[in-house]
Every structure is written in structure tokens, then in C-alpha cells.
Symmetry: C2
Subunit: 213 residues, 2 copies
């Protein structure tokens, strides 16, 4: 019943829901709960029970009639599928306020993301380390990609450097970029880009707050 291969490409909405299920399942796991039904998950997570069953069937996970899903098994399968159990080495590009904050977030390691080095141009930061993570000058990026075998670049530079940093990362062999800037970077089709603009979320929240007033 294991997930055959990691190359299953799920619809993004499904992919985004899986971590919600995992978070809830892991909570049940710490509470030593053995089985959970999709109805139960549905009630807590606010997702339709049939949708949950459908999402999990993509991973070949099926519940047993009247018993539901085995919590421990479901947790392991979800976590494996989502890649949280693998090691993904990443570089932090731009070690300003947000960049250094993310380096300090040990939560990322729990989800398989190891920030192994940071890069900046600021001489006050270059040569130092943050929580054991060394900060190098951006000019050394190419040799460091080879040294650390990093595959992911996390972008936390000022907007005006977003595109040029992206181009540099790709030139150095990085294949995936986690973009925390609000800038829409352009890349070739074979490069993975994940945009996480937390400031854009703020705007959405403010607008809703004003709408409720």
C-alpha cells in the first residue's frame, strides 16, 4: 500500500490540502488515537469528507469501511509523499530581516528543508553565521552550489534584485526557487518557482478587516 514513486503530480489544490490533513493526523498521533474516519477529519478541517477520500485516493491510501484510516500509517504515508522526510538543501539569498528570520525558523527543518548557507553582499553580514549557518558573499555562489549540492534557492532580497538574483541562481545550477519577494520573477519552464508573498497575504487580510467594519 505504499505510494508508488514520487513522481505523482497532484492537482495543486489537493497538494495544498494534504499538509492540513497531516497536521491534524499528527495531532491525533500524539494523542495516541489509532483510527480516524474521513467524516471526523472533515469535521475538524472543514473540508468535505468525499473530497478528503478523493485526495487520499490519489496516494493510493484507502480507509477501511466503518473503521477509517489508520492514523500512524496515514501520517507516515502523507509525510513521505509530501517529501517532509527527505533532506532538501537550500541556500538563503539575501540575509536581511526576513532572510535571517527564516534561517532561525527551525520549523523548516522538521519539514525537510535544510538551509545550509546564506548569501548577501553586505560586508557586515558576510563571514558571520546565524544559528550555525555560514553567510557567504554572493560572488562565491557558483562554487558553493557545487560544494553543498544545494538544489533550492530561497529568495529574500530587495525587490530590485529579485530578477538578477534569480538569473544568477539558475546560471549556477539551482533548479527550484522559493520566492519570498513580492516580485514576479521570470524563469524557463524547467525551473520550479514557488511564490510565498506573506506581505500580499497581509493586504488580503487588511481588505477583509476593512470590509467587516
Amino acid at each position: 500500500m505504499s505510494v508508488e514513486g514520487k513522481k505523482i503530480l497532484l492537482p495543486e489544490p489537493t497538494l495544498r490540502r494534504l499538509p492540513w490533513y497531516l497536521a491534524y493526523i499528527n495531532m491525533l498521533r500524539t494523542q495516541k488515537v489509532e483510527y480516524v474516519s474521513s467524516t471526523q477529519i472533515s469535521r475538524t478541517i472543514n473540508v468535505d469528507a468525499s473530497q478528503i477520500a478523493k485526495d487520499l485516493s490519489f496516494l493510493n491510501i484507502k480507509g477501511k469501511t466503518r473503521i477509517g484510516y489508520q492514523v500512524e500509517h496515514l501520517s507516515t504515508e502523507l509525510s513521505n509523499f509530501l517529501g517532509f522526510h527527505e533532506d532538501h538543501s537550500a541556500f538563503m539569498i539575501g540575509v536581511g530581516s526576513l532572510g535571517s528570520a527564516l534561517i532561525q525558523d527551525s520549523g523548516l527543518i522538521q519539514y525537510g528543508l535544510h538551509i545550509v548557507a546564506g548569501f548577501d553582499v553586505d560586508e557586515n553580514i558576510v563571514g558571520k553565521n546565524i544559528c550555525g549557518v555560514p553567510i557567504y558573499h554572493i560572488s562565491t555562489l557558483k562554487e558553493m552550489v557545487e560544494k553543498y549540492q544545494a538544489g533550492i534557492g530561497i529568495l529574500a532580497v530587495p525587490v530590485e534584485h529579485a530578477q538578477q538574483s534569480t538569473d544568477l541562481l539558475i546560471e549556477c545550477g539551482i533548479k527550484a526557487i522559493w520566492n519570498f519577494t513580492p516580485f514576479r520573477i521570470k524563469v524557463a519552464d524547467n525551473i520550479v518557482v514557488q511564490n510565498t508573498s506573506i506581505y500580499a497575504h497581509l493586504a488580503v487580510m487588511y481588505n477583509r478587516i476593512n470590509g467587516n467594519k
Copy 2:
């Protein structure tokens, strides 16, 4: 030509695109560019020019034929509309790794979010301060909401405390919750919830990386 009232509720996709435009416009502004056309924005941002014109027309911002939008005016209008120029007081609930990282991100202040206090139950943290932000025991939440007049609660607690922290925040008068946990919290209709699950984004990125291999 100002935006009449702040109560215009935009479609969320539009709202999410506005900060992208603002980021690009602010970059042009630092470069002393005076006018920009929607075609130009379109080329850099990868959004259809007609979509950009439509999005901006929601805010009553119209470009001039053959000249385009005035950069400085557009920047001010966008920033005002998005609420980035206002002060929004927020509490950080859960001052672990992610919570303290977010407190240290001065970028949030630039977007109008002032984290005025943090709350936790860990006696090693309570009573201290992080970058000048005092950390209180969660049991003092109600009096602190009154003291600081905070309207937003930022949730960065462990999953198993997400719902109970939410309930407490609402009981104390908080009307908006920025949820960084992967847990799907439940609230009444009059409460604003913005989910920002950065770990869910990681899962999406890993899946795409595996698909490209």
C-alpha cells in the same frame, strides 16, 4: 481621483496581484521613472495588460492614453488602498521559532503591521523581550488586548493548540487572525482568517521538483 472609501471589497485574485504591481512600481519609483504603461508592467510581471488595467480600474485608477500611469501617484494609491500606510497592531501568539522569527522581521512594519506584544506559556520566554517586543503569559491576553488595542492575532502555536488559542483570541475581542499553523481553524463568520501555511508551500514545491526529475 482618490479611492473613495476603503470598503471596496475586491475579488481575492485581484487583491493578490495588487502587491505585485506595487512592488514593481516602487522599484521604478526608486529609479526615478515617471510614467509606466500597462504593457510595460505586463512584460515584467507576467500578467496580461488588460487584466492589469481591469484590476487598477477597480481602484478608479486610469492610465492616460499613450503615456500610461504616473508612477508616484500609482504607488501612493496602491499602498493606501492596500492598507500598508496604516498602523495595524498585532499580537504574536506563540513565540517559538517561527513566532520569534516573525517578530524580528522588520519588513512587516513597512507593510503596516506592528507586532506590539508576544504571548506564550513557556516560562523561559515569558517576561523577556524580542527586539523590544515584550513577551507576556497567555493568561494576561484579555487585559493586554484592552491595553494595546490590538486587532490582529498572529497564530504561530503548535498545531494542537491552534483551535483553543483561536477561541481565546476571539473571546478577548480580536477580530482577525493571521494563521501560520497548518491547522484549519474554525471561526464565526464575522472573524477574518488569513491562512499562510509556508510549510504547505514547501510541499507543493517538493512535488514539482520531483516531477521535474
